[in-house]
């Protein structure tokens, strides 16, 4: 196993998770923002569950559900000849699930803070809900979209608990950077652990700084245009 492999695996996982959640997050937040029934708080709690839940709990349940001993695992094995436990695909699935609030919350906040007249104006101009979403609402919440993507990406890079539970520690398949650090420390190989940690720290710090500056520039640009 090369030194860089866990880092590349982490980046691959983070990019795929962000891409999948970009689409999924837009659909979920659009659905939630349009929901008028009393069950909206219930769905918001479900969406935010991964924020409070220890990652090991989610990982444990996924491990049980996708185990080839159980119905879902058996079904996947029988019909798709695939298993989600201890594979990269399983890791990706868990990562998407675990990062839902990091993508959905900024998008939901952006959509609910938009004036309702934007959506109404588009509908009186004859445009469907989907066209309104793509052409009017999403361009109006670009900073929220950027926030959601960067938060999801950065959080996936640092994931440990869920990865450990459902992915295990298979080199080249599920050993991402955070697991590699743990491995190196366990093997008393502190030099490599330092390298991994320093690279991760610098990378995530950079991502968060970019996010901060992007948000500042967007809000300053908006303020200047309104002045």
């Amino acid at each position: 196993m090369s030194f860089w492999e866990p880092l590349f695996l982490s980046i691959k996982l983070a990019i795929l998770t962000t891409c999948i959640l970009f689409i999924l997050g837009i659909l979920i937040s659009w659905g939630l923002a349009s929901l008028k029934s009393g069950c909206k708080p219930f769905w918001e709690v479900i969406i935010n569950l991964p924020l409070m839940l220890p990652p090991t709990v989610l990982g444990f349940y996924l491990l049980i559900i996708f185990s080839p001993e159980n119905t879902v695992g058996k079904f996947l094995q029988y019909y798709f000849q695939s298993r989600l436990v201890f594979t990269f695909e399983g890791l990706l699935f868990a990562s998407v699930l675990f990062n839902i609030p990091f993508m959905v919350n900024p998008l939901l906040a952006g959509l609910t803070n938009l004036p309702s007249t934007l959506k109404e104006a588009s509908s009186t101009l004859g445009k469907s809900g989907f066209v309104t979403l793509i052409r009017v609402l999403l361009p109006a919440i670009r900073p929220s979209l950027a926030s959601g993507c960067i938060m999801t990406f950065a959080h996936t890079m640092g994931e440990f608990g869920v990865v450990m539970m459902i992915g295990g520690n298979i080199p080249g398949e599920t050993r991402v950077a955070s697991i590699a650090i743990y491995n190196e420390v366990e093997a008393m190989n502190y030099t490599n652990a330092h390298y991994y940690s320093a690279i991760m720290l610098t990378f995530i710090l950079l991502v968060l700084l970019v996010l901060q500056f992007a948000n500042r520039n967007t809000s300053r640009g908006k303020k200047m245009r309104h002045d």
Partner: protein, 319 residues
Amino acid sequence: MQTEIHPGEKKCAMIEVSVKKKFRNVHQDFFLNVDFEVKNREFMFLFGESGAGKTTILRMIAGLETPDSGMIRVDSEVWYDSSRKINLTPQKRKTGFVFQDYALFDNMTVRQNIEYAVHGRSGQGKSSHAGLGKDKKEFIASILLATGLEELAFQFPCNLSGGQMQRVAFARAIARRPSVFLLDEPFSSLDLDSRNKMHEELKQNIRDFSLTTILVTHDYSDVFKMADRVILLKKGEIIDTGKPSEIFLAESRENQFVLQAEILEISRNESANIFTLLIGGNVIKISVSESEAKGRSAGETIMVASRTFHPVIVGREKS
């Protein structure tokens, strides 16, 4: 420039509205129960104090709110009928709606905002201009010209003044080729000068485009300058309908002034209450008796009438 959107000189009622809806305003729940008609190409005003139900009526016509019961028919096409369970979506109702906050799309230029409304076309993207059909390009150009927006076509809404934004909202609503043109307090965020200018422009444009229009306002100057007919609303009920002069000047006589004023401040000296009023851009103070002052508060709009007097014209205002 004359742009006919709905040719034909129909004399029949074009819009028929007969709806009921229980709704809540700031203070209490009450019942909206209205029944009225608007003739073809008529400029009708819904007038009343805040919370009277004016905007709710407009939103029900546009399909943005659903009445509890009743019927809305436009040009013999039923848009809503509770007994037959017909309720067209806003997309299927041909309305041009100008919102109080204009609801312009900040990510699109003025031209793209208008293109967005042109039926059957996607209007976004910098190259969309080239992709439009010739007729549509001419149609959009005619709207930009008629509304005086040609020079602002490639500006974004956030760089425009209040009056310019209003023109864009108006142009975008026209681009929809509406059967009914609905305006919800379109002048409320404009200063007095812009307001007076926009009165003229709007009236001219509505005439040019032959639109049947319903405008919501609680401002007397809007009504007197533009309305063919006005419906006076109070707490969800129609209390009067007719020409502005028939409704508001019925009891006024020669040399009597009836002015709309906003109360800026209420103070009291030893003998009387003093109201500081804003009337037509001027601030004046008047003494008010105890009974007249009762229940009034700053920010409220009132009518101030003079007793008989002989006014003297002292000069022309410098412009």
